[in-house]
Amino acid sequence: MIGWRARIGVLLPPDNAVLEYEVNRLPLPGISFHIARMFPVELGELPQDAPRHIPSLKECRVNFIVYACAASSFMFGPAANDELEKKIRELSGLDAVTATSSMILSLKALGIRRVALATPYWRELDEKLLAYFSAGDIEVVHIESLQLDSWEAMNNQTAEAVYRLVKKADHPEAEGILILSTNLPTFEVLQVLEDDLRKPVVSTNQGMIWTACRRLGIQDRISGFGSLWQRQQEGRRQ
């Protein structure tokens, strides 16, 4: 049976053209991914559309749900992010995590207290991201952005462009680097970036799927996709 260890449901912004390709090339036997596209594309409205898709994902009998949009889960602040996550859990009766929560959990699992951020965003979104971090206990020592002003442009970035962005984002005080957004391709360059920079590099899609797997009790230590995947963690309620 496909998904014989676990099926992961993904609430995805409709324009995203990257996540499905990335998650389907992870060497995770028995894990399958099933997508629901939120609508409309207006960023701030996505959280309100998430509940509409829970019945579809439940029909797939998924075991876990990820809310796969970073921006719309951090832009309203930590309380709204927690609320969104709680709502998805309550409506589905399943464990769930937002992109934003999973990034924080991933940084903490790697013991990173000072981070450099690499984002595709424009200035206003970067400011909201910095505000989100300022309310927590991970310090942002540097931020570097592509300053792209359309989602379409973000979906058309190459892994090479991400590599260059992260090299620029690195900072001597940063213990690790976080790459934002579920529509930036990162899997191809996570390992080479870690090797070249000699520090951990986390990306939204990597952190989100790692978190989902560990919560499900899936402990595979896959290689080639960053040191986060070498970390095993206790599972949570099923």
Partner: protein, 243 residues
């Protein structure tokens, strides 16, 4: 190369389907990506009334799914719902394609049409047909006959819900192929995009010495050919190797 630089396929999928997404990613060539939107539909397929209801509700949600996928700039829609495309007979499959194209603004291929096209392009006039269904087999037989394809035998697994279909082991596909491979059949078609088939199509073609076509195989083949990707992909049957 950018992801999806050669083309993006938009899968319009019944919500309960757990097979098509992993199966398409197991064969996609470099430079092509696939993106999914789900059509909510009830899952009971145990009798005629419920089967039709699943198809009706699913099809009604097709245009919304196409609109969701349109924002990902897909180059072709694959309406990957066999039952939803054959249940009203030949002509309905083309009507669905028109509706999706209008809602989504890009060409659409439909599973039932793609299956008939694949069978004809391979020069097969008489086929054995296997399905997971309990009640829709006469509708599917009628659809193929309207398209000029004779059905030598049709047999279903009689599963109660579409969720059960997604849980079948690959062995069930092998058993169905053997069960409907009559001596006068020139090939075999196995129906339903929520039924695993891809990993064993080559093996079954070797075993019976005839072409084997499945819903997902025909759907992915038609979608790739529609966007001009003509790679002869190995390991998923004669259809992909030669056509």
């Amino acid at each position: 190369m950018e992801l999806g630089e050669r083309g993006r396929i938009g899968l319009v999928l019944p919500a309960m389907n757990t097979v098509a997404e992993p199966e398409i990613y197991s064969i996609l060539p470099e430079g092509v990506t696939a993106h999914t939107a789900r059509m909510y539909a009830p899952v009971d397929i145990s009798d005629e009334e419920n089967f039709v209801r699943m198809c009706d509700v699913g099809c009604e949600n097709g245009e919304q799914a196409a609109k969701e996928l349109a924002t990902a700039k897909v180059d072709v829609y694959a309406f990957a719902f066999t039952a939803g495309s054959f249940y009203k007979g030949a002509g309905w499959d083309e009507e669905i394609a028109r509706r999706i194209e209008k809602a989504g603004g890009a060409p659409c291929i439909v599973t039932a049409t793609a299956a008939a096209q694949a069978i004809k392009q391979m020069g097969l006039k008489r086929i054995g047909v296997g399905t997971p269904y309990a009640v829709a087999n006469q509708r599917l037989k009628g659809f193929f006959e309207q398209k000029g394809i004779a059905v030598t035998k049709i047999e279903g697994l009689v599963l109660p819900t579409a969720v059960h279909v997604g849980r079948q082991p690959i062995m069930k596909f092998e058993e169905l192929v053997r069960a409907v491979n009559t001596p006068d059949a020139e090939g075999v078609f196995i129906s339903c995009t929520n039924f695993v088939t891809l990993s064993k199509i080559d093996a079954m073609e070797r075993e019976i010495g005839k072409p084997v076509i499945s819903s997902n195989q025909a759907t992915f083949w038609a979608a790739l050919r529609k966007i001009g990707v003509t790679d002869k992909i190995k390991g998923v049957g004669r259809l992909f190797r030669e056509f």
